[in-house]
Amino acid sequence: MSEEKYVPKTKLAEWFDSRLPLLSLSHHLKSYPTPKNLNYWWTFGGILTFCLITQIVTGIILAMHYVAHTEHAFASIEHIMRDVNYGWLMRYVHSNGASMFFLAVYIHIFRGLYFGSYKAPREMIWIIGLAIYLLMMATAFMGYVLPWGQMSFWGATVITNLFSAIPLIGESVTNWLWGGFSVDNPTLNRFYSLHYLLPFLTFGLVILHIWSLHIPGNNNPVGIDVKKGSNETMPFHPYMVMKDLTALLAFLLLFFAFVFFLPDFLGHPDNYIPADPLITPAHIVPEWYLLPFYAILRAIPSKLGGVIFMFASIFVLVGLPWLDSSKVRSATFRPIYKKFFWVLVITVILLGYLGAKPPEGIYLILARIGTAYYFIHFLILLPLLGRYEKTDPLPMSISDPVLDKPGALDKFKEMAGKYEGENVGTFK
C-alpha cells in the first residue's frame, strides 16, 4: 500500500482543509504506510504515547488537590489518599504510571538498539528520543520530590548536589537551583512549577519524534528498506492501530496489577515519613529506573568523575549512529553484535541491581566492571564490529524470511484462498 493523497469528499471539508489542513493530517496518520513485518516490539511507541497522556491527565487532577509548601505537601498527599474521591486511584495511577512509562521506554530504546533503528536515515528520531528520555528523567525526579517524604528530600539533596561537583561555580549553581542554602520551600515550589511544565515540552518533542519518523518511515525487524509503493506495507489504520491496542491491553493488565494489588511495591517505604533535614535515611536509593546511573555515579571514586561518567553514559548514546558504523541495521544478521547486545542488556540490569546495594566490597567491584564494560561496548566494540564483523546475507525483501521457508508459499496461498480482501489478492 502506498499513501495516496487526501481528497475531500464534501465542499465543507474542502473549504476547511484548504484553510487548515487538519483533515489531510488525519488522513496521513490513518494511511501512513507501515512495514507488514513489524512485531510486538514496535507497539511500545503507542504505549509510550498512552503513558504520557495518562501522566498528564492524572497529574492535572492531582494538582487540583496538592499543596506545594514544605508544611502542607506531605499532609496534602495524605488528604488526596484518604479524603479526595478516588484520590488514591489518581495518585497510584500517577506514581505507578511513571514506572510503567520507564519500563516502556527502556523496552523501546533496547528495541532500537537491537534492530538498529538509530541508523541512517533515522538519526534525528533517535536523538529526539534521547531528549525525550532526558526530560522524562528530569520530570520523574522532580515529581518524586513533591510528596516531601524522607526519600523526596534526600533524593533531591543528593541529586542537586551533583552540580556542586562543577569546579569554581558549583556552589553558586546549587544555591541557585535551591533558591537557598539547602533544599527547602523555594526548591519545592520551583520543582512543582517545572514538574508541571516539562511533560508538555515532552509532548512537543513527541510530535517532532513522530514527524521525523514519518519522513523515512518505520524501520522493521529485518532492517532493510521497504519498497514504499508495494505490498510490503500496510496502512497504519486499522492494521497497526489494532496491533497497538492489543499490546496496550496486555500492558494495562500489568499496569493495573500494580495499581490495585501492589501499589507501593515500586516505591520506597521511607517516603511515608515526612521530610526531616536533620536525619538522612540509612540507604538513599533512587527510583528503580534511575538505579543503573546511580551505580555508575558511585562506581567512580571521585566526586566530579562520578558525575561526568554518569552524564556521559547517556550522552554516549547520542553518538551511537556514528559509533556503530555497520551498514546492516538488524541484529538478526549480525551474529557477533547480537551476542554483545545481550551482554549489554545484562550489564545494564546488573548495574541496576548494584545501584540498590551499598557501594562496598564485591558490589563496588562489580559496579566498576559493569561501568567499564558499558563504555567499552559503545566506544570500542561497536566501532570495531562495524569494521570487522562478517554479517549474514540480507534478504531481498522483508517477505523473503517468511516465504523462503520450504512449502511456505503454498501454505499461504491455500490460506489466502479462504479469505477475501485487498491484501490477500496478491497471494492468489
Binding site: T157, V158, W178, G179, F181, T280, K303
Partner: protein
Amino acid sequence: MTNKIEPKRRNFLFTATYTIGAVGLGAAVWPLVDQMNPDASVKALSTTEVDVSSIEPGKEITVLWRGKPIFIKRRTEKEISEAAKVNLKDLKDPEKDSDRAKNPEWLVMIGVCTHLGCVPLKNKGEYKGWFCPCHGSHYDTSGRIRKGPAPTNLEIPKYEFVDNNTIKIG
C-alpha cells in the same frame, strides 16, 4: 562610494546591531535567571545563637542553620589529641586541627557531607569521627575526610563565642 566599500559598512552595521541586541537580550534575561537565587527572606535568616552550656564532654548536638544541620561537638581530651597527632601528609584535604577548632574543646561544623550532601552519623566509621552512610565517606575526630568519595573536609561555618556558654553561627 564604490560598490566595494558598501558591503563592509553594512557588515559593520549588522555586527553592531547584533552586539547591542545581544547585550539587551542578556539584560532582559538576567532577572528571569536571578529570581531563582536565594531571596531576601532566605538571606535574612543568616545567624543563630546556640546555648551550649548543657553539652557534656564527648556529646554532640545538632542545630539547624539556614536549613542545614550544624554539628556542635564538645570533644574529649582523647579525641582532641587523636585529631592533633594526625600527619598532614595522610590527609586528602590537609588542614590542621588547630585551624578547624579555634577552641580545641569545641568543634563546630556544617553537618553536610561534602560528597552529595547527606548528614553523616556521629561516632561511626573507621576514624571514630563521622561516617556518611550514603556513599561511605569516613571523617576523623576533626571532621576531616579520610576515606570515601567526599572531596573535602566537613565545612566550618562562620561562628564566634558570644560568651562562655553561647555560640553565634553565621
